[in-house]
Symmetry: C2
Subunit: 95 residues, 2 copies
Amino acid sequence: MARVVVDVMLKPEILDPQGQAVQRALPRLGFEGIADVRQGKRFELEVEGPVDDAALARIREIAETFLANTVIEDFTVRIEADQAADAALAAQAES
Amino acid sequence: MARVVVDVMLKPEILDPQGQAVQRALPRLGFEGIADVRQGKRFELEVEGPVDDAALARIREIAETFLANTVIEDFTVRIEADQAADAALAAQAES
């Protein structure tokens, strides 16, 4: 099973109070040198079957229609190899 | 300025009601073939100065102490090239 990751972040021009709160807290906690923090969401989707262009187009539609609010958020879709699944396959191949 | 991304996800053994809600909604909305959805957080940190091993160790400490709750969450830290900054540098180099 393949894993597809959808990252959803506020657009750069949109104020991010959560990220700002983290960024302002860092110096108080002894961490200097972080100029900016933005906080967003990460979705991991386990896809049944092959992740071909059609599947990716469908996932982009999912992301656009209801994982992200495209008025204020940008999203990216990318395939991530499921290491656990790969390891399981490798173990099967060995046995 | 370099960008470091911290991904924070619930540990696999921890129930993820947000992700489950998304996963259950998908078939109702006409999207089949997504076996599982997990929802987590993504932090983008803009780091001043070079991102060397010391900086990464400090960011791992930030992630561990207060971006993630390591009792229930796993986190990963990785460097991401800031494309906007790269483009700006390239433009400067050209001019």
